[in-house]
């Protein structure tokens, strides 16, 4: 079992003929994801790799193929429009991989998607994977294995690092979700924690946060009051200087707010396990699974 995506996920890829879109579409098909359609305006009628029909609009793709999930690999200045198109066309889950989407664009996209009743993941995220069932985005499939742990994170490669160490230690995952490193994103930690709490196959959750904002503190509060399953947390950026954007647009300590120390304190206050190093997840999750 898993959250958000499974064997029934029918995916439409926006920007399927682009450099990143085509590369990752092949990887997703290879992994077993049901990629039912692609969209590139002006290339409707073509087929991708001889198997996936390409449409001019997401509306056409949804109507002709029954796609229920969209993944977006379009340049940043077109990403907001692509997200709204997918939500308007009826996709229940929209995953935006694109990095560099202006935050003011997101202030318009966020309420639009909510009103359409869709879930947005990202932008600036690696997507998600339910090992053995489906992957949407760019998380490398071979570092994951099916198992009992839910993973949710704000970053990409750090998530891979920790998932890989879990897998090597024989600990598999229900679903790994990258929520992205931007200041405004569609899905937050709490959305994922709530879904993992409901998923009967998830027995423990690994959560990787970073400096900036208050998402982790609110997530800790949620864990304290609403979670029965053990949650282990980690915060990246303990050595980050204030006022500097650490790669991710959202990873910035503003004044004295959003520091690693304040987030770690929130985790401790919620009774969560705290991984001091990425490798510590292995033992803490093992203990949680007992």
């Amino acid at each position: 079992m898993s959250i958000f995506i499974d064997k029934d996920t029918k995916l439409v890829v926006q920007g399927i003929t682009g450099r990143d879109g085509s590369f990752h579409t092949k990887q997703m098909i290879e992994y077993g994801t049901k990629v039912v359609a692609g969209v590139t305006p002006g290339k409707g009628g073509q087929t991708f790799e001889g198997t996936v029909p390409v449409f001019n609009t997401v509306y056409d793709a949804v109507e002709k193929t029954g796609a229920n999930t969209a993944v977006i690999y379009v340049p940043p200045m077109g990403a907001a429009d692509a997200i709204m198109e997918a939500a308007d066309a009826g996709c229940a889950l929209v995953v935006c991989i694109t990095e560099g989407v202006p935050v003011l664009d997101m202030t318009k996209v966020y309420p639009f998607v909510k009103e359409k009743g869709a879930r947005l993941l990202g932008p600036n995220c690696p997507g998600l994977i339910s090992p053995g069932a489906s992957k949407v985005g760019i998380i490398p499939g071979r570092i994951c294995a099916p198992g009992p742990v839910g993973v949710v994170s704000r970053s990409g490669t750090l998530t891979y690092e920790i998932v890989y160490q879990l897998t090597r230690a024989g600990i598999g995952q229900t679903t790994c979700v990258g929520i992205g490193g931007d200041p405004i994103n569609g899905t937050n930690f709490i959305d994922c924690l709530a879904a993992f709490e409901k998923d009967p196959h998830t027995k423990a959750v690994a959560m990787m946060g970073e400096i900036g904002g208050t998402d982790e503190q609110e997530a800790a509060d949620f864990v304290k009051h609403h979670m029965t399953k053990p949650v282990v947390g980690f915060i990246a950026g303990q050595t980050a200087p204030p006022g500097r954007r650490m790669g991710h647009a959202g990873a910035i300590i503003s004044g004295s707010a959003g520091t690693a120390a304040e987030k770690i304190d929130a985790f401790k206050a919620a009774g969560m396990g705290v991984a001091k190093r990425p490798i510590d997840f292995v033992d803490l999750i093992k203990a949680g699974l007992k």
């Binding site: 202006p102 490669t157 490193g181 200041p183 405004i184 050595t239 500097r244």
Partner: protein, 381 residues
């Protein structure tokens, strides 16, 4: 990207915000000439990307042009928080009857821009928010509809009693909001918004921060970037499409991905070392990025050891290995290097490195410990 006060004021003036007349000077003589032209008492204000300019002596009131020349002589070349003042704004001094704070910031929790206004202007708004939150009115704006007339009026009434001032303030809110949206800002503020004894409102200081992700859309704003306030290595890195932040330590870090880069710095600290930088070479495995990264890091004399930490997901570790070999052939390293690679094409990468006289580990903790030891002048285990 931060704009200087004079740049922000130029933009705000373009949207109709009342701003005192003024010009930028780079020499005391220029400052004197501008003061002469203005024909009023002036303020000479250091243009530097640092808070607390006033406290540092970078803002002075001058009665005469000769006075402006003298004050400009003192301020130009002054160091404020490590930055050298190269420009001053010479601007008409305002008669002050009241001071208010007006700002808009993108609020992560509300997922909207939020206006913050307070009649307690001219001071640090964070302090007001912490100590007397009731003195601030917050007004979130739905950017799909823009700032509505009644919202702007509500802020006007919160700040002033006199209906003439209320209406002026509401108009300024609309102008500030228009400038904020059109320039792709993450923050814009007027502090203080001054009420003069004759009943006019004027923006005496202005600040704008533009979202870096908007700069592709706003080449005119990108052109305003002042690189003199940045570390040259950071400017170099940005031109090579690398995200680099210089720090004070001695372990130079080259990592793929922002989260892993932060976690690597933290691990350096965990094992008793100090990271020299944050550097994310990004997801693509272009060997050129590795070459540039090594050039930028080795240019820092404080770096005693270089640490590569690459998790090959999308990034091919053999590409990174080739980059390291190419870079060090043309520019042999003067400090030790510790390489950690794992993931995509790891075996090929290890072979390339070994054949070229490098050793590499696949374990992150092991590599970081070794790098910390080497930076301290110790021998690696």
């Amino acid at each position: 990207m931060n704009l200087h006060e004079y740049q922000a004021k130029d933009i705000l003036r373009g949207y109709g915000v009342p701003i005192p007349a003024g010009e930028v000077a780079t020499s005391p003589e220029q400052a004197e000439a501008i003061a002469m032209k203005l024909g009023t008492a002036v303020m000479v204000k250091a243009q530097v990307h640092a808070g607390g300019r006033g406290k540092a002596g970078g803002v002075k009131f001058c009665k005469t042009p000769a006075d402006a020349k003298e004050k400009a002589t003192a301020i130009l070349g002054m160091h404020i928080k490590g930055l050298t003042v190269e420009k001053v704004l010479v601007t008409t001094a305002a008669d002050i009857a009241s001071e208010a704070y007006v700002g808009i910031i993108v609020d992560r929790q509300r997922k909207k821009p939020v206006f913050m206004v307070s009649a307690a202007g001219g001071i640090d708004i964070e302090e007001v928010a912490a100590k007397t939150p009731e003195k601030i009115l917050y007004v979130p704006v739905d950017t799909r509809y823009g700032l509505r007339g009644y919202e702007a009026m509500r802020m006007g009434f919160f700040l002033y009693q006199d209906i003439k001032l209320v209406k002026q303030a509401a108009k300024i809110m609309q102008q500030l909001y228009a400038a904020f949206m059109a320039s792709g800002c993450s923050l814009a503020e007027i502090n203080p918004l001054v009420g003069t004894p004759s009943g006019e409102l004027i923006a005496v200081d202005g600040k704008m921060v533009v979202d870096d992700n908007e700069l592709d859309r706003h080449k005119d704003i990108e052109a305003l970037r002042d690189v003199s306030s940045e570390a040259p290595s950071e400017v170099d890195a940005r031109n090579c499409n690398l995200t680099f932040i210089k720090l004070e330590g001695d372990v130079g870090c080259v990592v793929n991905g922002a989260g892993l880069a932060m976690a690597t710095m933290d691990l350096v600290k965990y094992y008793g070392g100090e990271p020299a930088n944050f550097l994310d070479i990004g997801g693509s495995s272009n060997p050129e990025k590795v070459v540039n990264a090594l050039r930028i890091i080795t240019a820092d004399p404080a770096v005693k050891c270089i640490l590569f930490n690459i998790f090959g997901g999308i990034t091919r570790t053999d590409d990174v290995a080739n980059g390291i070999v190419t870079a060090t052939k043309s520019n042999p390293l003067k400090v030790p290097i510790v390489i950690r690679l794992t993931g995509t094409n790891e075996e090929i990468a290890m072979k390339i490195l070994t054949e070229n006289g490098f050793s590499a580990s696949s374990d992150m903790d092991e590599a970081v410990q070794k790098a910390v030891q080497l930076a301290k002048g110790g021998k690696a285990a």
